[in-house]
């Protein structure tokens, strides 16, 4: 038998800003097994929700994850609205869509940067994060803050966009598209990037279905699955097709994300063009009662909330199943047999968000 080395990968690691640990069991430089160890970021959000006021839980939802904070508030607000039978004004729905897509843009750009960093391509990392700052500028201008915006609330949105902001958005989108046009060919054609990503971290379509992959991980394996097609917020009125790649490897997943950036830009443009006039917020009275399941598409895949409320001031149960949790079994499957050098990239290729998983 060959000598085996156990290498702890994480919890403190430069590629991931978040702690996750894999005990990688190596033979030479090949991984024979990977044992994920979780729990470094658990903070008991589901329990906190059962003691906090349900309106305040909204802010808790926002702080499940700092990258997709908008998505979490969106899902939570929609779930509560469904429970209480609130009809959200159409303008608010469009605003929510715009902000959700901005969130997706910044998340994907963030991921692209980290992926470039994972294969040791520092200048590409810097360039993508530079483009990301443009998105953050848009977010800050329209939502008031960079990360924790609190712009979506139960019953609508807290802010409205006036003509000036829309103008600004369109103008900046132009900038962003230019920057992305420069970055895209590097990701898709650079021979060394291809050499590092093509065929690395294979996940066949059958495996992806069996192991329950969601989001870009599933779409990179040829499964056209996108929760936005359910038509929540304003997505039902903006027609679009999910981006699908069939190469089933890290390269495919990377391309899905890069292409989705362009898709998001398109969606924002469409939403701005169609933005209806009117109110953005309706008054909310009473308390939620009953059960609901809410599914939305996060940058990382399908987010599923299960809410149960018994007419009290706080929820009875709030179950959060985040996309990364569904993508962990495919990840463990992919890491086995990989080279040590590829582990950071493969781990990133599902876009791990540990803060989401551990809540």
């Amino acid at each position: 038998m060959k000598r085996r080395t156990v290498i702890p990968f994480g919890p403190q690691h430069v590629v991931f800003p978040e702690p996750i640990q894999f005990r990688l069991i190596l033979e030479e430089e090949r991984v024979v097994d990977a044992i994920p160890a979780l729990g470094y970021m658990h903070r008991g959000i589901e329990q906190l929700a059962t003691v906090k006021d349900f309106t305040k839980t909204l802010y808790l939802a926002e702080r499940i994850c700092g990258i997709c904070s908008v998505m979490h508030t969106l899902a939570y607000a929609q779930a509560i609205e469904e429970l209480m039978g609130i009809e959200v004004p159409p303008r608010a729905k469009y605003l929510r869509t715009i902000w959700a897509e901005l969130g997706r843009l910044q998340s994907h750009l963030l991921w692209m940067g980290l992926a470039a960093d994972a294969i040791g391509y520092e200048s590409l990392f810097m360039q993508t994060w530079r483009a990301r700052e443009v998105v953050l500028e848009m977010i800050e201008f329209t939502e008031g803050s960079r990360i924790m915006t609190g712009s979506i609330t139960i019953g609508g949105t807290k802010r409205d966009l006036h003509a000036e902001s829309l103008e600004f958005l369109l103008h900046k989108l132009e900038h962003l598209e230019q920057a992305l046009n420069d970055i895209y060919p590097v990701f898709s054609d650079d021979p060394l990037i291809k050499q590092r990503t093509v065929g690395v971290g294979l996940l066949s379509k059958a495996d992806a279905i069996k192991l329950g992959a969601v989001g870009p991980t599933a779409r990179g394996s040829g499964i056209a699955e996108d929760m936005r097609l359910l038509g929540y917020a304003a997505y039902g009125e903006l027609d679009f097709q999910p981006v699908v790649e069939t190469s089933c490897d890290s390269y495919g997943r990377m391309l899905v994300r890069v292409k989705e950036c362009f898709q998001s830009i398109e969606l924002i443009r469409k939403a701005i063009a169609k933005l209806p006039p009117g109110e953005v917020l309706v008054k909310v009275k009473g308390r939620p009662e009953g059960e609901v399941i809410m599914r939305i598409e996060q940058p990382r895949g399908e987010l599923l909330y299960y809410l149960k409320a018994g007419g009290d001031k706080s929820l009875a149960r709030w179950r959060i199943r985040t996309p990364t949790l569904s993508n962990l079994p495919p990840l463990v499957h992919m890491v086995k047999g990989a080279r040590l050098a590829d582990v950071p990239l493969i781990t990133l290729s599902i876009d791990t968000c540990i803060a989401c998983v551990e809540r």
Binding site: Y121, E122, S123, M126, I193
Partner: protein, 287 residues
């Protein structure tokens, strides 16, 4: 060479080489930052780093590790010294490899997986570039008829004209030695290494890291001096050649990701070794 001149060279090596190496490192960090659209650290940053590291509390995993660090520095300085004194090229490259081996042994002497795997990769790198260095020496002998470095100065035309392919094949060796991407497999000095924390130097801290940093400056100067050997007849040409090399490496570092070691071995042996062999064979058949 007269004794006073020799003494002067020795002193200059000890005092000037770190200054030059440090400034070059600072310049390189600045250039990299500018290429990435950042402002970058001041030119004198490496010196601040060195002083700071030197005054941190030492922490060593074991004593033998410290011995290896000093050995690494000692061999590095010796190889540069011997080179500037115009000694035997074969011997110099031998000492130079010794310096690397000392670092590898230091990395292997601690029980840390990162450091171990970093050392293993360093060994692979050593095996990868060593044949090219040997070929370089052979080619040098063919042209000058001697192993002595001082011989290159008395040539009629620069080595570059007779050994252009060898110089090109030296490029990957240079990149490997200064630990730049795409071949920064074992460690990186100024950026975090994404696979192995800091690879081979993970377990060194404080003053020992400062010594490794210092050695890397000597190393940079040595490698650049080796490049300038290809135009040793005229010091302007030598400097120019070294500067071109330096900037080429910096740019390459910026536009490439890290490759895997199997790819590196394949590439360096196929292209680098291939070019060097062609050059040597051509010399052999023609002359």
């Amino acid at each position: 060479m007269s004794y006073p001149a020799g003494l002067g060279i020795i002193l200059a090596t000890f005092l000037l080489a770190p200054v030059v190496g440090g400034l070059l490192t600072g310049l390189e960090r600045k250039v990299i930052a500018r290429l990435q659209g950042r402002v970058g650290p001041p030119l004198t940053q490496p010196f601040y780093d060195l002083v700071k590291l030197w005054h941190k509390r030492p922490q060593a995993a074991n004593r033998i590790q410290i011995v290896y660090v000093y050995a690494h520095l000692f061999f590095m300085v010796t190889s540069l010294l011997a080179f500037l004194l115009g000694q035997d090229l074969l011997l110099i490259l031998f000492i130079f490899s010794f310096a690397t081996v000392a670092l590898i042994l230091g990395g292997l002497s601690v029980d840390s997986p990162y450091s171990r795997i970093g050392s293993q990769r360093e060994i692979i790198q050593l095996v990868t570039y060593e044949p090219i260095l040997v070929l370089l020496v052979i080619a040098y002998y063919q042209v000058t008829g001697s192993f002595m470095v001082s011989q290159a100065r008395s040539l009629e035309q620069p080595l570059l004209f007779t050994l252009p392919l060898v110089l090109i094949s030296f490029l990957p060796v240079f990149i490997i030695k200064v630990r730049k991407s795409p071949f920064d497999l074992a460690t990186q000095l100024h950026e975090p290494h994404q696979e192995l924390v800091k690879g081979i130097i993970t377990e060194y801290s404080g003053p020992y890291l400062a010594l490794i940093e210092l050695a890397s400056w000597y190393e940079l100067v040595f490698l650049l001096a080796l490049v300038s050997l290809f135009w040793a007849t005229n010091w302007v040409g030598g400097l120019l050649l070294a500067a071109i090399f330096f900037f080429a490496v910096t740019v390459i570092d910026n536009i490439t990701p890290r490759v895997t070691y199997s790819w590196m071995v394949k590439f360096v042996w196929k292209v680098g070794l291939g070019l060097a062999v062609v050059n040597v064979a051509w010399l052999y058949l023609w002359k």
